[in-house]
Symmetry: C2
Subunit: 489 residues, 2 copies
């Protein structure tokens, strides 16, 4: 049936098609049905919503995604067809019975996720099935390939493209900008794209966003990398592995992140970004995403899957049982980074970890001999080259490291007793920083004055909470007092 | 923050709140976030969508559900607050690890489903977790109680309220109107509420809707039952077990129906409708929802859960390996019903099954002695009382059984070979009828000329496809030819 578009820039996040109720009744279309809207040879799939007003019979509204995909404007005439339940939707049942997917089946599911043919409920069902039944190595490799190929791919002239990735979960674990600055100083290309925080206090993208732009088209990103050897960009709008973005969106809703999905997600993004050398940081321990045993299993799986793609991959298992550095929150973490880079009272745990990771990449690519990486990394850091490189990258991303803001409200919390810091719980610390306003309020977050194992006295400052509003500050203080974020005995 | 409502009757199916992009940015609200809109003491939860046009800063749009819940109109001033992730959302993870829920936890999840605090993706995750890990008997009883108590409950003066239910899946299995007519003739109160088809060709509600109204407020439903001893209504808008409606909506999307969820769903609806005696029909066999072994297990679980609620419950395991009767589709099934009720060439399988089920209810309530139920049911049928009762119910529901429509296009399909009908596959038959237009096009569907085990000759008619459009007819014919809906050997 023919419809006239009534442009309607709503629902920027989802493909929705709005129609008059009378049209819906006439066409036997229900809310939630999938329809295909087409004009010339451009096609777009949307989920129907029915309007009782605003749209007249014969008029069709569409959310921003569809409008831009079809390149239509008000008054354009489009064709609408009902789309039957996609085959991929029926395939989801297979994992409900814990059966193994074929390459073709996985590809169909991933394609339909990219094309918005599957709803969030269906994607949640897919993730949940994968979580409960797991995936074989073969399935995980198929999933990786499918996620990676169904999206943009960046090609580089050089083959010495390196990347690092942390599986996350540890507050303040902001080694990426340091590793990138050190390695890029040594002449390694690191086109680093990062994600925003999902459940933690801040992701690398959130942190860099507090001092520079992070969202670039691929061509601009390439110019930045060609100029500085690196970038610290947000991966979200590059169209690399778009299926992964949608999977993550739903994982965020259901607070679940199955292992094979995690591996496929990370490797697909690296492959799409053109990386040939990849270092994976797997923090383990109490309060981390995995136990030591789990970390070892994960390491093996990463290595096995990487082989399918001839990707040179190293993994490093690190202590993830407490936050790293002092700052937790975008600007507070930038300040930690600058303390390391400018050699001015650096948080030792953050510095040591960054050097350890950078060393592995320097050795992988042959910038130095096996065993000499840490020495080289430290030299680069001490020489001031890494600081200069970081400043250069931030400048190339239209940013500045001057006049870093401090939050309006800061509350220092003192210890009520003397003793040993037994535990600093990652999840509680992440939640606390989020309550204080991180990562949205760039200056919000925490400054940790203590680390695990430290002896402290009654009245000594444990933590500072930084917030931009009194409300958020009080909410965070209340949570801290009721939680056991920092355990002292 | 205060907003001015701009009434916007869109999104009838989901609670959505629309706001200007600038407001969203200012409030750090993202698409998909939950907000609470309130006015005086009325509150409503919605999911945010961001509009780039139509709504000015300070204006708030809301979908129909919210508008009617808040009783607001354009220009009313409301308060908007961000709602944190509900605790129930975090509880969903528990089933991901196959842990047992407490009563309180289940109640929290169900309450939040009813209050629209959980999204479809979260509900899909819940269902999937329950599917993969199962639920204990205790959990299933808690789930039943929670679904039943979080909604409207109908109270009756009499305690002799009976109900029947089929777990479904078998095309043409329209015994409900027959059982209800027979039992109501014998003086049993049967306030029957049914659902629409989820994946089958037609549900009882779809079938009755082809000749009468099915959607009533509770007060009107009670009047119908007090007058005729029964009703054949749609349960959807009565607000009985509303959590169940939302669970079913998502189950439909993910094509999954976990067992404990199925039991809780059925029993909660019966309890909310005030039933004290319940008969559950469990069709089993190839192409049915369960195997014979599965049916026996299900029977035991139904009995165990019913005990928690002092519900008198019988189950009957029936052959579900092929369609029942001849018609599949709303009006075609009505015609089958009338052939049984008017004693005019009745489909024997449908008649026998209806008598068997009615007999159990008649015996349960003591209308006759044990073992005499079938005789009584047949007498009532032969006397014409059941037909009269059916006509009376349809009339009370503003309907008529005169001039039943026939679809515009009918295609008779002949057998290409002689042999035995080995199989008639339920799922293919359901799909075929849906392709032909059932249940939306009331006259659409199938008329089966053969049954399993029947000897047939080449050229003999197997099936008629009834459709209201040439397109749908051809689509169904194509599917039939490529499928093995009817297997002959």
């Amino acid at each position: 049936m023919k419809f006239k578009i009534k442009s309607f820039k709503i629902g920027a996040g989802k493909p929705i098609v709005y129609m008059n109720k009378a049209d819906a009744v006439k066409l036997n279309i229900n809310i939630g049905d999938r329809v295909e809207v087409s004009i010339n040879k451009r096609k777009s799939i949307g989920i129907v919503d029915v309007a009782e007003s605003y749209f007249n019979p014969g008029e069709l509204g569409a959310s921003h995604l569809i409008i831009s995909e079809l390149k239509v404007k008000s008054g354009d005439r489009v064709e609408l067809e009902i789309v039957p339940v996609p085959k991929s939707s029926l395939l989801l049942r297979k994992k409900a019975f814990c059966k193994e997917y074929t390459k073709k089946e996985i590809d169909l599911i991933i394609k339909d996720i990219v094309d918005d043919k599957l709803t969030e409920a269906e994607i949640a069902f897919f993730i949940s099935g994968v979580y409960h039944c797991g995936m074989t190595e073969k399935e995980t490799a198929y999933l990786t390939e499918s996620i990676y190929k169904n999206g943009n791919i960046i090609n580089w002239r050089s083959s010495k493209i390196a990347d690092k990735h942390s599986i996350g979960g540890v507050p303040g674990n902001r080694t990426t900008p340091l590793v990138v600055s050190i390695c890029a100083s040594a002449g390694i290309k690191m086109p680093k794209t990062s994600s925003r925080a999902i459940t933690t206090a801040a992701g690398t993208a959130d942190v860099i966003e507090s001092v520079a732009d992070i969202d670039f088209p691929i061509a601009k990103l390439k110019r930045i990398v060609n100029k500085t050897n690196a970038c610290l960009a947000w991966g979200g709008s590059l169209g690399l592995a778009p299926a992964d973005d949608k999977l993550i969106q739903v994982e965020k809703i259901i607070h679940l992140d199955p292992e094979s999905q995690l591996i496929a997600s990370i490797l697909a993004k690296k492959l799409a970004a053109g990386s040939k050398y990849v270092l994976i940081d797997i923090p383990y321990g109490e309060g981390a995403k995995v136990s030591k045993k789990g970390a070892k299993k994960l390491k093996k799986k990463f290595k096995n899957i990487a082989k399918h793609f001839k990707l040179k991959l190293e993994t490093v298992l690190t202590d993830g049982s407490q936050p790293i550095g002092n700052g937790v929150g975008p600007l507070l973490e930038i300040k930690d980074l600058l303390r390391v880079l400018s050699r001015n009272n650096p948080p030792k745990d953050l510095e040591d970890k960054a050097i350890k990771l950078a060393a592995i990449i320097l050795e992988m690519i042959g910038k130095t001999k096996k065993g000499k990486g840490q020495k080289l990394a430290r030299e680069i850091l001490d020489s001031g080259k890494a600081l200069k490189k970081f400043e250069q990258i931030i400048k190339a991303q239209n940013g500045s490291l001057k006049n870093l803001k401090r939050a309006k409200f800061v509350k220092r919390i003192e210890s009520k007793s003397s003793g040993n810091v037994r535990k600093i719980r990652n999840q509680e610390i992440n939640h606390l920083a989020r309550l204080a306003g991180s990562p949205v309020n760039k200056a919000a977050g925490l400054f940790l004055h203590v680390h695990k194992g430290q002896k402290i006295k009654k009245g000594q400052i444990l933590i500072e909470i930084h917030a931009e509003s009194k409300d958020k500050l009080n909410q965070a203080i209340r949570f801290f007092k009721s939680s056991e974020a920092i355990e002292i005995k």
